[in-house]
Amino acid sequence: MSDHPGEAIISVRGIVNRFGSETVHDGLDLDVYRGEVLGIVGGSGSGKSVLLRTIVGLNRPTEGDVVVFGSDFLAMGDDKRREVEKRWGVLFQDGALFSSLTVAQNIEVPLEEFYHMPLRLMDEVAAIKIGMVGLPEDAGGKFPAQLSGGMRKRAGLARALALDPEIVFLDEPTAGLDPIAASDFDKLISDLRSSLGLTVFMVTHDLDSLFAICDRVAVLVDKKIRVGTLDQMLHDDHPWIQAYFHGPRGRAAQHAESDQRLRADSQIVAPASA
C-alpha cells in the first residue's frame, strides 16, 4: 500500500495562502492517493492546519486549485459541494463536538441531515460507530463535557466516520493524549483504515504516529511541501528535515518503531510455524 500508482483522490496545485503581508504557502503542490495514510508535519506556524482547512474548504486560498475526487472543489456550486462533503470526515483538534448534544446525537447529526433516517436505525448506526472507535457502550448518552480528552477525540472520530467517508482529515489526533492513549489511537486509525478502506490525511506533531502508521510523509518547509516515503524523508538533506527526524526525539521514535516491528514480526511468525 505504500507504493501508490493509485488514483489521486485529492490534488492540490499551486496553492498560495497569504494573510495580510504574511505568506504561509507559496505555490504548494500535493497529491493524496486512495488508501494511503499521509502524515503532514512542519514547524509551528508552517501552515499545516491552514493546508487542511484549505482542502476541506474552510479557507479559500489566495491562488491555486484544489481538485477533489476529480473535480475542482473551489469552482463547485453548493449542491455539488455538499455531495463532496458527504464523502469526507474531519476530526478537529479537540473533537469539536456539539456541546449541547450527547455523543450519540453528535454522530446522528449528519445522518439525520442528509438521509432522514428513522430514529431507531440512527441509534443503531451511532452505537456501531461508538463501538468502532473503541468507546464504552454508555458513552453514547454522555455529553462532551463529561468525557476525557482522549474520549472526546474518539467521539469526534466517530462523528467524522458517521457517513462512512472515503477520506478522513485528522488535525493532530494524538496531541494532548498520554503515550498509551496516543498509540491506541494510532492503532485504531490503522485498523479502521484496513477495515473501511479509508484514506487518511493526518496533520501531526507526533513522531511516533508518523513512524507507526504513515505510508508517506509530507513536510512543510520554506512555504512549500516535500513529500516522500518515510525512508526518503529520512535521507532528505534539507536542514529542517534533518533536524526533525534526526533530533533526539526523532531518533527515539525510530528506535521504538524498529523494536516494535521486530516484536510484531516474531508474533506473526510464531503462529504460522505452529
Binding site: Y115, G131, D164
Partner: protein, 379 residues
C-alpha cells in the same frame, strides 16, 4: 453519479428462505433497506440464507443491517447462514460485528415525558435551588469575612483595581443609565398627566414623578441596568479566568481570589451604585420636568416649587439607602457565578445568563421587601 440502489430479493421454498441482497448497501440507502428488512416475514423455524453475492458496495450501515437481520432471525429460532460474502468486505463485517452487535440500543433518550419523570424533575429543580441558595449564602459569608479583615488592614485594599472597577461599572455606565432614566421620567410624566388632568390635578404630576422616581424607579432601574451590564461582566470575567485556570494560578501564588477579584468589584460597586442612583434621579426628574412643561405647561420654576412641597429629604434618602444593598447583591451573585464556571467555555455563557437573571430577581425581591418594611415602619 448514478442513482444508488440496493435490492433484496426473497425466494421461498418449503422450509427455507433465500434472501439475495444486491446493489449498493450504503448509508444513503439504509433508511429504505431498513424499512424493507423490518417488514420481512419469515416463517418461524425455516432455514434462512442471506446471499450477498450481488453486493457491489457496502458500508457500515449496510453491514449492520445485514448482521442485525442475521441476529434477529437467529433469535427467533431460524437457522441463518450468510453466503457469498466477498473477501474484500470481510474486514468491514468483522469490525461491525465487534463494534455494534453488543450494543443495539445503548442510549435511550432521557425520559422527560412520563409523569414520574416530570415530578422527579420538579424535585430535582427544587433541591437544586435550595442548594444554590445555601452555597450563595456561604459565599456571602466568605466575602464578608474577607471584607472585614481587609477593613482592619486597609493597606491591603487594592485601590487601583477598585478605581478601575468604578470606572467600568460607574463612569462608563453614565450614558445608558442617564438616557434610560430620562426616558422613564418622560413616560411617567406623560402617563401621569393624562390621568390627573381628568381631575384637574395636573400639578400633582410633579408629586407622582418625584415620589415614583426618587423612592423606587431611579434606584431600581439603575440596579437592573447595572445587573445586566456589570453583573454579567463580573461573571464573564471571573468565569474566563476560571476556564484558563487563572484563578487556580492566583491561589498557587498565595493570593486570595476573593481578596483580589471579588473585593475590588464589591467595594467599587458599593460606592458607584448610590452615585449612579443620584444621577439617575436627576436625569429622571429632568425628563419629567421637560415633559410637564411641554404637555401641561408647568414651567420650570413652578415645577421646582411643587417639588419642594411634595417631597422631603427623606424621600430621596429612602431611594439611595437601597442602592448599597442592591450593589452587594449584584456583585456577590456576579462573582459567585463566575467562580462556578467549570473548565468548559460553554458554562461561561450559561452562568452569565444565570447571574443576570438571579441578580435582577433578587433586586426586585429585596425592593419589595423594603417596601413592606418601610410601610410597617410608617415611613
Amino acid at each position: 453519479m448514478a442513482p444508488i440502489a440496493a435490492t433484496l430479493a426473497e425466494t421461498k421454498d418449503a422450509g427455507s428462505v433465500v434472501l439475495a441482497a444486491a446493489g449498493e448497501w450504503l448509508v444513503a440507502t439504509a433508511a429504505e433497506t431498513d424499512r424493507r428488512l423490518r417488514a420481512l416475514e419469515v416463517p418461524a423455524g425455516s432455514r434462512v440464507t442471506l446471499d450477498l453475492a450481488g453486493i457491489d458496495r457496502i458500508d457500515t450501515a449496510g453491514a449492520w443491517l445485514l448482521l442485525r437481520t442475521e441476529r434477529d432471525l437467529s433469535a427467533r429460532g431460524n437457522a441463518v447462514e450468510i453466503r457469498n460474502l466477498q473477501p474484500s468486505f470481510a474486514p468491514l463485517f468483522d469490525q461491525v460485528r465487534a463494534g455494534g452487535i453488543l450494543a443495539p440500543d445503548a442510549h435511550p433518550r432521557p425520559a422527560h415525558h412520563s409523569l414520574i419523570g416530570f415530578v422527579a424533575r420538579i424535585g430535582e429543580i427544587t433541591l437544586g435551588l435550595l442548594g444554590r441558595a445555601y452555597r450563595i449564602l456561604g459565599f456571602l459569608g466568605l466575602v464578608q469575612l474577607t471584607a472585614l479583615r481587609l477593613i482592619s488592614h486597609p493597606r491591603r485594599l487594592r485601590l487601583t483595581a477598585m478605581a478601575a472597577q468604578m470606572e467600568q461599572t460607574g463612569v462608563n455606565a453614565l450614558p445608558i443609565v442617564g438616557l434610560l432614566s430620562f426616558l422613564i421620567g418622560v413616560v411617567i410624566a406623560y402617563q401621569g398627566a393624562g390621568q390627573l388632568r381628568r381631575f384637574g390635578a395636573e400639578i400633582y404630576t410633579v408629586d407622582l414623578l418625584a415620589i415614583g422616581i426618587l423612592r423606587e424607579l431611579g434606584v431600581l432601574m439603575t440596579a437592573i441596568i447595572i445587573a445586566g451590564r456589570s453583573g454579567s461582566a463580573f461573571t464573564a470575567q471571573i468565569g474566563t479566568m476560571q476556564v484558563n485556570e487563572e484563578v487556580d494560578a492566583l491561589r498557587t501564588l498565595g493570593l486570595d481570589p476573593i481578596e483580589v477579584l471579588v473585593i475590588p468589584r464589591l467595594f467599587g460597586l458599593l460606592l458607584t451604585l448610590p452615585m449612579l442612583t443620584l444621577y439617575a434621579n436627576l436625569m429622571g426628574l429632568f425628563g419629567g420636568c421637560l415633559m410637564a412643561w411641554g404637555v401641561l405647561g408647568i414651567t420650570i420654576p413652578q415645577f421646582m416649587r411643587e417639588l419642594q412641597y411634595s417631597i422631603s429629604e427623606r424621600t430621596f434618602w429612602i431611594g439611595v439607602f437601597k442602592a448599597p444593598f442592591f450593589a452587594a447583591v449584584i456583585a456577590t451573585i456576579g462573582c459567585y457565578e463566575g467562580f462556578q464556571v467549570s473548565r468548559s467555555a460553554e458554562s461561561v455563557g450559561r452562568l452569565t445568563t444565570l447571574s443576570v437573571v438571579e441578580s435582577i430577581f433578587l433586586v426586585i425581591v429585596i425592593d419589595a421587601g423594603f417596601s413592606i418594611f418601610f410601610s410597617v415602619l410608617g415611613i
